[in-house]
């Protein structure tokens, strides 16, 4: 049996309506051979966690440009832990000040991808760090 593709949820929690970046990343990861679930705008952390669970994704990618990342991202991480999805890799993208990165990593975020990150960099990171797929 060949290894199954890595399954990624790309989610836009919070209220900002700028999803071009999320869509470009979703499309780019598709082209890198990932199976990408895209859930659309204005998701609550609860909706993101529920979708991640039902889809049994390997990776949750959160795109936030509103500045609310310090509220939303830790909440998603906590909900995933509560649902026993500790093995899911959480990464974020968007506009996140460098000063906030250590706090996000302490909450369980594996990587913070800022503007200028290439699709290839993201894809390589996910391949290297996503949970093993039986």
């Amino acid at each position: 049996m060949t290894e199954r593709p890595i399954k990624v949820l790309i989610a836009k929690p919070g209220l900002d309506g700028h999803d071009r970046g999320a869509k470009v990343l979703a499309r780019g990861l598709r082209d890198e051979g990932f199976e990408v679930v895209y859930t659309g705008l204005r998701q609550t952390p609860e909706m993101v966690a529920a979708a991640a669970l039902q889809e049994d994704v390997d990776v949750v990618g959160l795109s936030i440009l509103s500045g609310a990342h310090m509220t939303l991202v830790p909440r998603v991480c906590r909900l995933l832990r509560e649902r026993k999805m500790d093995d899911v890799l959480v990464v974020t993208g968007g506009i996140v000040p460098d000063d906030d990165v250590p706090a996000l990593k302490a909450e369980g975020v594996a990587a913070v991808f800022g503007p200028g990150t290439t699709i290839i960099e993201v894809a390589d990171f996910l391949r290297a760090n996503a949970r093993p797929r039986r």
Partner: protein
């Protein structure tokens, strides 16, 4: 055999899923989709419990509103207190194998409802409108007790009729003004419809499109045997027992999935069909489905045996002989079958 290896882990997952543990259910679906030993063992445990849900296929062209209608139908079922499983299939890239699964965008209002479970699947190179394991995934949702399982296909063209064999009832969506009356009498998708839904009913021409479809689809001759659905599903293996009766004139409804208009009427039609089929566990559609499933497993197992270490060398040599035109494909198949019998 593959079965024994995954039994312990599968038992644990199945018991948890039957208690309502959604993560366990999600992990079973992953195992089934990846065709692992755990997935096979879980399916074997759940199959005897399945057969109670109404499995409804939803198919139609890209952009006709399948996902939105599935969301609206889910809302209607939930208002009646009924649980809903959804399998939503989107295409895989033939180039990279990647996929963008976007059906949840329309369904996220149900994401936090514990009695709704939505799972996206990539078609993974399968061409009939579904993923290779969509039917098995629907059986899992059926087996853990969902009242209704909605199976949404990839956006289909004219001939992806596989869903008709995977579902008890098939809904074919059309958008208004998608073609003239000649489109309605071409063979293919519309032939396997139990219900035709003209969605986007608030657009001009919806009622006229529905009227044209009604006029043309009643004209389908009522021939009782043979059908594209049966052949498509079984690769032509459907014998007399495996035939699906050709749907007689499908009901034609108009919905506006974005507002919910027409959706209660659609559910009423689905329920009427379900009641009529209630004692129909052995009905023709299910016989076709069972035959397709079993034949596909038979094929996979024979191939696995032929590729096992004991026979691999001989099998490879036989295939090479065909590639070099030293042997014809029929003789090669006979030779391979004979080598299985000799074992």
């Amino acid at each position: 055999m593959a079965g024994a290896a995954g039994t312990g882990a599968a038992d644990t997952l199945v018991e948890a899923a039957l208690r309502g543990d959604r993560l366990a259910l999600a992990r079973i679906l992953t195992a089934v989709e990846s065709r692992t030993a755990v997935g096979e063992a879980a399916l074997r445990r759940l199959y005897p419990l399945a057969g109670r849900a109404h499995i409804v296929g939803v198919t139609g062209p890209p952009g006709s509103g399948k996902s939105t209608l599935v969301a609206a139908l889910t809302g209607e079922l939930r208002r009646a207190g009924r649980s809903v499983g959804v399998i939503a299939v989107d295409p895989s890239s033939p180039i990279t194998g990647g996929a963008l699964l976007g059906d949840r965008v329309r369904m996220q209002i149900h994401a936090q409802d514990d009695d709704v479970f939505i799972r996206s699947m990539a078609a993974r190179g399968h061409a009939g409108g579904l993923a290779p394991t969509s039917g098995a995934a629907a059986a899992v949702l059926d087996g853990v007790g969902f009242d209704t399982v909605l199976v949404e296909t990839v956006g289909t063209g004219q001939s992806e009729v596989e869903v008709a064999a995977a579902a008890d009832t098939t809904i074919v969506l059309e958008a208004p003004e998608m073609g003239d009356e000649v489109q309605a009498i071409k063979a293919g998708l519309l032939e396997v419809a139990d219900i035709v839904v003209v969605n986007k009913g608030d657009r001009p021409g919806a009622q006229r499109t529905a009227g044209q479809l009604r006029a043309m689809l009643v004209a389908v001759p009522r021939v009782g045997r043979g059908s594209a659905a049966a052949d498509g599903a079984t690769g032509g293996a459907g014998g007399a027992a495996g035939e699906r009766p050709r749907p007689t004139a499908p009901e034609v409804l108009v919905t506006t999935a974005t507002t919910g208009a027409g959706v209660p009427e659609l559910l009423a039609v689905l329920d009427r069909r379900r009641a009529a089929d209630h004692d129909g566990r052995r009905n023709a559609a299910r016989r076709t489905r069972a035959a397709a499933q079993v034949w596909s497993i038979v094929g996979e197992r024979m191939r696995a045996d032929l590729e096992a270490p004991a026979l691999l060398e001989a099998t490879t040599a036989t295939l090479l002989a065909v590639a070099e035109h030293r042997l014809d494909p029929f003789a090669a198949a006979d030779r391979l079958l004979a080598s299985l019998r000799r074992r």
